[in-house]
Amino acid sequence: MNIFRSKYFYKFSQNPLSVIGLIIVSLVVFMAVFAPIITPFPEHVGPFTDFANKSKPPSLKYIFGTDKIGRDIFTRVIYGYRISLTLGIVVLSIAAPIGVTMGLCAGYIGKKTEIILMRITDIFLAIPALVLALAIIGLLDRPNLFYTMIAVSMAWWPWYTRLIYNITRSIRAEGYVAAAEIMGASKLHIMFKEILPNCLPSLLTKITLDLGFVILVGSSLSFLGLGAQAPTPDLGTMVAKGASLLPDAWWFSLFPGFAILIVVLGFNLVGDGLKDMFDVDV
């Protein structure tokens, strides 16, 4: 793995955009983790009101201004990153393993398993992701972050199935798979010890790119009111609250909005860098 780091990382660092992306992602993660320390008003995240300072435009004290009940938007945006990153990690921790396993099984075991699994996948892929997530959350009791995570995971796994299925099918014909079969390796061993490692470059790239896109979809859902509920600071919800006030309290929407843009941009740049580095197509 050490060789992996040095040779590949060199190629990665050749592309300035990828490095910028890495810096962005690192900064965002850093800020999210150390939010209580670096933000000026961490108490604004919980139930807090300060009507004297409500709806103030950006100033030295309140870098991004304050919202309708006087909370510092900058603090809330940084805390909002915590929600976004958590969403991304949780969703992919659910979607990726499920999708990958299904893809491996469908691609390698073949026959009836393949047909059934891929038909199910096709059906889920036929429903636009946001629509499916919307439908799922909408049908659950009351919207909250947890349900959002479930819904987005359910919309996301089929993409992993399809990716891994395609790779597995093309690898299946390769020599070393046949060799392992002859040596009597079990199906499980072949799938996870022979085929899966070869999917890693594509998988890593896709996961990186998806971290950004899951945050994008998640913030879209919260924009519609279906994400984390008040007073938890969620970037999408914050944009929504400010949308109806345009163009007046523009800082309500623009700062959280740009915060989303930046984190998605970061993951996208890193993902593109990985794509070039590994020379894959996801």
């Binding site: 036929a126 429903i127 992701a129 946001l130 439908a135 909408g138 009791d141 924009f223 345009l246 843009l261």
Partner: protein, 338 residues
């Protein structure tokens, strides 16, 4: 395999997928926690009223029977009554769908009209300043959520530089055209009122662009990559060696094979745009299916939710089929290869 056989096969698959989707959505709708009848009637309804509504909605039957009733009704055009608008869902669909349809068509057109040329320029003039600028635009398109695009476009072009209108489909002072298709652009043309046509057109641009931006970014990047892959192919070297016109190469000879993988993604991008419509319609107060969909979800209107999901999915399936047929035209190998 003849082209005709391919058509039939494709349509058949889509129908199967449609039914599969209906099953999934149906099951999801029925598996939710909580009693839909209770939710619909509110906390003050009596137990008898709730029971009666449950009977009417067949909620006490087994899920198979419920599904059967659902499908049978579907074929009779009966999608149930919306517990939110209190009207037949079909009526709601007819009212709201054309607005979204028109909007998504505008987005699709913008995606192609802006995305493809951007990608062609990028791929043909690779690594020049034109390429860099268009790549930045594409990247911003892809990473910015549609609702943010909607807000930015609105702030820039409706408030800061008041070129475009802020919301709705039409100016309030004008009379809407006679309702024929529900598509303002077409209805106003049929009626001959050019002023209304232009007004609706102008109203479509900002929201259409907001929905399309991510797709524009995607199409542009993909076209660039595919085009530059094709430029490396030997038949392009052949074309250059025989002095085919450079313009013809970029716009036809290289573009046609490059379009094949791009067009497949365009189908997926339509799905993406359908999702984005939900966000943008909210910002621009557009009286469409997506806005209705959001309201219906928040109100837990079962019939409305199922109908909305089915409508969007069908739309998407049809687009995908059309995309496959276009690919067929572009790539004769699919049908002709023995």
């Amino acid at each position: 395999m003849l082209a005709f056989q391919y058509f039939i096969k494709r349509i058949g698959v889509s129908i199967i997928v449609f039914f599969g989707v209906s099953v999934v959505i149906f099951c999801l709708a029925r598996l939710i926690p909580g009693d839909p009848a209770r939710i619909a009637l509110g906390p003050f309804a009596t137990k008898e009223m709730v029971e009666q509504l449950r009977e009417t909605l067949h909620l006490n039957e087994s899920i198979f029977i419920q599904y059967k009733i659902f499908i049978v009704n579907l074929f009779h055009g009966d999608l149930g009554i919306s517990t939110y608008t209190k009207r037949p869902v079909l009526v709601d669909l007819i009212n709201y769908f054309p607005a979204t349809f028109e909007l998504v068509l505008m987005s699709g057109t913008l995606m192609l009209l802006i995305g493809m040329p951007l990608g062609i320029l990028s791929g043909t003039f690779k690594n020049t300043i034109i390429d860099h600028i268009s790549r930045i635009i594409s990247l911003l398109g892809v990473v910015t959520p549609s609702f943010l695009w909607a807000i930015i476009l609105m702030l820039l072009f409706a408030y800061l530089f008041p070129i475009f209108p802020v919301s709705e489909r039409m100016d309030e002072t004008l009379d809407p055209p006679k309702l024929i298709t529900g598509l303002l652009l077409i209805d106003s043309l049929i009626e001959g009122s050019f002023k209304v046509f232009w007004d609706s057109f102008v109203h479509l641009i900002l929201p259409g662009l907001a929905i399309a931006m991510p797709a524009i970014g995607n199409v542009s990047r993909l076209t660039r990559t595919n085009l530059s892959d094709i430029y490396d192919k030997q038949y392009i070297e052949f074309a250059r060696s025989y002095a085919f016109s450079n313009f013809k190469i970029a716009t036809k000879y290289a573009l046609k094979p490059a379009s094949i993988p791009t067009v497949t993604i365009i189908g997926l991008d339509f799905a993406f745009m359908l999702g984005n419509a939900f966000l943008v319609e909210t910002v621009f107060v557009w009286p469409g299916m997506a806005k209705y969909g959001v309201e219906v979800i928040l109100a837990k209107d079962l019939n409305g939710i199922v109908a909305t999901a089915l409508v969007f999915t069908s739309f998407f399936l049809i687009i995908n089929m059309l995309v496959d047929f276009v690919v067929l035209y572009l790539n004769p190998r699919i049908v002709l290869k023995d």
